[in-house]
Symmetry: C2
Subunit: 156 residues, 2 copies
């Protein structure tokens, strides 16, 4: 297990979450549960569609406190139940290339004595995209969402 | 079966090949066979590595008549044996985003009375990339290679 970036185009968040892998994975793959934690509060997630299979589409709509909605479309590239998810915005559906792909998320869930080593890697095409993502608040945003994810997964 | 582009970012080649789907598919997935037809002559294909599984890498090196070599790296996104292959240069390996993704190839092999309806779709991120690909000689190049593919598949 490493939580250091493997390249200068990657951002990494790693957390030990006090819930088993199965529940953390479920919080990522069940739309009703994902809506409870996916956006950093006071943002919210009013809508989520998750077709969890390789090539399956995902649509997650986030909302700011004023009700402005921001849809995020992507697809699943790899699924290892309870262990790993790879999701990208490089395709809007299988296999329609996106005009402006931004990043590929590689999420791993590893057992550590009943808890979960949760590692989220955001891989970008360019160093510029990685730096832009960092300035958008990757670490703060994904960190806050990891706290929310932990609270939801613990309660399952 | 349709051979018209589904978007203005797509190029399509469709051919009826006088060989069964299994042989056309094999010519695409066996490295030694692929090397016999992949580059339009007098270009050649001195080297090919094909890890034919979802997420598997492919490296195909083409050579011009002077021996200048041009490596093409990509990965397989979807595999349906004897029916479909989806290959992209959007990742150099699973799951390392490429800096300059160009296109995603969706190849289908459909039985038509013992012959193969071979359809190659090149899907681009932008209309500009599609037009550039067309000017590079997509139709001529892929057309010539389809002739070469047919000759090789018939002889298997």
């Amino acid at each position: 297990m490493t939580s250091t970036p493997v390249s200068d185009r990657e951002l990494v968040l790693s957390r030990l979450i006090d819930a088993p892998c199965e529940k953390v994975y479920r919080a990522w793959t069940d739309a009703e549960i994902l809506k409870q934690w996916f956006a950093p509060k006071p943002w919210s997630t009013p809508h989520a569609e998750l077709d969890v299979r390789p090539g399956g589409s995902t649509l997650v709509v986030m909302s700011d406190p004023n009700g402005n909605q921001f849809p995020n479309r992507g697809i699943y590239l790899e699924i290892v139940p309870n262990r790993k998810l790879v999701i990208t915005d490089a395709y809007s559906s299988a296999w329609e290339p996106s005009e402006k792909p931004f990043f590929t998320a590689v999420l791993t869930f590893e057992d550590e004595g009943g808890k979960t080593r949760y590692t989220a890697r955001a891989r970008h095409r360019t160093v510029e995209d990685k730096e832009a993502h960092e300035k958008m608040g990757f670490h703060e945003g994904w960190g806050q969402c990891a706290d929310q994810l932990e609270a939801v997964a613990k309660a399952l």
